[in-house]
């Protein structure tokens, strides 16, 4: 085991899979010679050659469309979209084609491809570099949407995503890239897609979240412990399709749930989680379902104080946790 950042763990996963399976290749803007804008693919072109780590034109529809074709022909492409909000020109390729090819061809064709994209705020990225866009894809059967919250999960989930025989969207939190660091298993390491994970045990309240918010919730939970409450923290890891069983069990355990996302509140992943709880756990609820999310305004502001206002942080999570615990 070695200590790795979230970013290094992702590079490690790509490196491991490329070494293991020569059908795996990377396609995206600046991923080759430059090694990606964040440096995720640094050294991979050098190691595996320019046909395994290719620079693409500035056209997201092309990146995804090309990868989809390659995947249908038996390759295992890993597309990189430089920032998650730039994925929108490729939504037709993703939602209409990749997600539905297995269904449309009655199982004759499938698309074993991964689309990686850095998302999330808190890095003074403003409108085009701070968004959470997972909900655009989180209602399309045929897709899987994965968002790891820790370096070890990032590696395990990315390897599983590459090996998956259907399209997987893999959203990486930009702020987590260099912020999070932990022991990551070397070599073979997979984490099952579609399984949520209990990151912390507690019996007073349950927090359900994903992405960077998992780390923030863990920080808040340590503070909450000092005032006598123990929080159970569930990391969804896969936001589509959701792991209903874990959501239901974690809710039933305490009867008090707080759902946290940095996305805008209305229509977020947490709206669906809330519906699952409402449908399955009414008679186990000890408090109204609480949600903490970004405000319903168009974008993350650039101004640092305004960004703080928009962005969910450990302080805001702590306040909500305490309110719920004391309910």
């Amino acid at each position: 085991m070695a200590k790795m950042t979230y970013l290094q763990a992702i590079t490690d996963a790509l490196d491991y899979e490329m070494g293991k399976d020569e059908n795996v290749f990377i396609f995206g803007e600046d991923v080759g010679y430059k090694g990606g804008v964040f440096g995720v693919t640094v050294g991979l072109q050098e190691k595996y050659g320019k046909w395994r780590c290719l620079d693409s034109p500035l056209a997201e529809s092309n990146i995804v469309g090309m990868c989809l074709g390659a995947a249908m022909m038996g390759k295992r492409p890993v597309a990189e979209i430089q920032f998650a909000e730039y994925i929108l020109p490729a939504t037709n390729q993703i939602l209409n084609e990749a997600a539905k090819i297995r269904y449309r061809s009655n199982g004759d064709w499938n698309a074993p491809m991964v689309i990686r994209a850095p998302f999330g705020g808190g890095i003074h990225g403003a409108l085009y570099h701070s968004q959470s866009i997972e909900t655009i894809f989180a209602s399309t059967p045929g897709l899987k949407v994965v968002i790891p919250s820790s370096p070890a999960d990032a590696k395990g989930l990315l390897i599983s995503a590459i090996r998956d025989n259907d399209p997987v969207l893999f959203f990486e939190h930009k702020k987590a890239y260099r912020l999070l660091k932990e022991e990551v298993p070397e070599g073979e390491h997979t984490v099952e897609i579609g399984k949520a994970d209990v990151k912390r045990e507690g019996d007073d309240i349950t927090i359900i979240t994903y992405g960077l918010m998992v780390n923030y919730a863990l920080q808040a939970a340590e503070r909450l412990k000092e005032v006598g409450y123990e929080a159970e923290i569930v990391d969804l890891r896969t936001v589509y399709p959701l792991d209903k069983e874990t959501i239901i069990n974690a809710t039933k355990k305490t009867g008090k749930v707080l759902l946290v996302t940095e996305d805008n509140l209305e229509g977020s992943i947490m709206s669906e989680v809330s519906a699952i709880i409402g449908e399955n756990c009414l008679y186990d609820l000890d408090a109204p379902i609480m949600r903490l999310a970004g405000p319903d305004v168009p974008a993350m502001p650039y101004s640092p104080p305004m960004e703080d206002f928009f962005m969910v942080n450990p302080e805001k999570i702590y306040d909500k946790m305490k309110e719920l615990a004391e309910h």
């Binding site: 007073d204 005032v227 409450y229 009867g255 186990d284 609820l285």
Partner: protein, 435 residues
């Protein structure tokens, strides 16, 4: 044969205690004849028979507390025997009555009722008044047959949390002191409780069982003092003019009317008038809203032996001082003889309490839930007071006001109290009419 059930004695009343049976099995009663006295929430009420007939069996005993709707006795009605033979829909609904030892109940019906009964029992959960019960707490209470009134809550505003009820189910009803800390180690309560019992307790004297009116008073007081955030104000009032007015009328009034012209009546009247100017004093906290009452119904405290009654002077603002004095006199008489009924005691919107009657000069009253204020009229005492740089002997009285701070702020309460003060101080034989 018909059943007589515990009637609902008030909006928020869920049960009543049989104080005394006024009939015995075999007695013939007419419809509306009183059959027993029931105590609930400071009120003693007579339960009228809803049928004419012969009392068959007294199912509830004196001292028993019966839920509203519970059968208290059975009665044989004239000519009603034919219809009672066939099981009525009413009986099937009330499973408890099927299980009760009535001869008519067929064996078949009993076995059918048995499974229903267990279902019925688990669903019967006492829901504390005005409480917010979460779905999980309600479910656990019904599954484990827990009376939620027995569970003390540690959640927001005393709400019973899932943890509270799980702890209650695990530990039983014995240990349930309200815990102030959000989460204390489980052991502290039992450890704390133990030494108080083993420590050298003072030798026990007489034991007074808590029941009936005392129990109702206790429950009401706890509710008032825990639910309502009280704030207190006291104002010193110069009652010299009032004393003059009252002394002037005292003898002739007694001769003419046959009852006393009390100081207290002047205060009740003054309060009723002041409430007219500050109607918010006459309101009630209802959780999500404040209800400002239109009628000014003044509750007054009347003691009878060891009991405390709070009868109501309805529309006190409509009455003259004589009218108020008459009501005070009548209600006090009824109270002393334990003849006050729920009708006398319901509908109060603000309370005036005559604490001065026993010599008190200062007190902090507990508000009569769900009212917003209580005014304590203290003793009128002669004291030296400085007026215009000279010392004068004046009749002084303290008015102590307790307010529900959720509804009332110091300013409005202070203005209200000042107005009462002015009304008392500005009395004069010429201008103040008794009639």
């Amino acid at each position: 044969m018909e059943e007589i059930k515990m009637p609902k004695l008030g909006e928020s009343v869920t049960e009543g205690t049989i104080e005394k049976w006024l009939v015995s099995p075999g007695d013939t009663v007419e419809e509306y004849d009183p059959i027993c006295e029931v105590i609930s929430d400071k009120v003693t009420a007579e339960v009228p028979s809803v049928f004419a007939g012969t009392i068959k069996e007294l199912i509830a005993q004196e001292g028993d507390t019966i839920e509203v709707g519970g059968v208290i006795c059975t009665i044989e009605t004239e000519g009603g025997s034919a219809s009672s033979e066939t099981p009525s829909v009413d009986k099937k609904e009330d499973v408890e009555s099927v299980a009760a030892p009535t001869k008519e109940a067929a064996v078949e019906e009993k076995s059918e009722g048995a499974s229903e009964e267990t279902k019925h029992v688990t669903q019967q959960v006492e829901k504390p008044e005005n409480a917010r019960i979460s779905p999980v707490v309600m479910r656990l209470a019904s599954e484990n047959n827990v009376d939620l009134n027995q569970v003390s809550g540690t959640g927001f505003e005393g709400r019973i949390t899932k943890k509270d009820i799980l702890k209650f189910i695990e530990e039983g009803p014995k240990s349930a002191p309200v815990q102030e800390e959000p989460k204390a180690p489980e052991t502290t309560t039992t450890e704390k409780a133990a030494p108080t019992q083993t420590a050298s307790a003072p030798s026990a004297g007489e034991e007074i069982p808590v029941a009936g009116v005392r129990k109702a008073i206790a429950a009401k007081m706890v509710q008032s003092s825990t639910e309502i955030p009280h704030a207190w104000l006291m104002m010193e009032v110069d009652a010299t003019n009032l004393v003059k007015v009252r002394t002037h009328h005292k003898e002739s009034f007694k001769k003419k009317e046959g009852f006393n012209l009390t100081f207290f009546s002047f205060f009740v009247k003054a309060v009723a008038e002041a409430v007219k100017e500050y109607p918010i004093m006459n309101s009630s906290w209802q959780g999500d809203k404040i209800i400002v009452n239109k009628d000014i119904n003044v509750s007054i405290a009347v003691a009878g032996d060891d009991k405390l009654y709070v009868p109501v002077i309805k529309n006190a603002d409509d009455l003259s001082i004589k009218g108020v004095a008459k009501q005070v006199s009548e209600l006090a008489n009824l109270g002393r003889n334990h003849k006050l009924t729920s009708a006398h005691m319901s509908g109060g919107t603000i309370t005036v309490n005559n604490t001065g009657a026993f010599g008190s000069i200062q007190s902090m009253g507990i508000i009569n839930h769900p009212q917003a204020a209580i005014l304590q009229v203290e003793s009128i005492v002669k004291r030296p007071v400085i007026i215009d740089g000279m010392i004068a002997q004046r009749d002084m009285v303290n008015l102590c006001l307790s307010i529900d701070h959720r509804i009332l702020d110091g300013l409005v309460a202070g203005n209200f109290l000042k107005l009462v003060k002015e009304k008392i101080e500005n009395m004069s034989i010429e201008s103040s009419s008794i009639y």
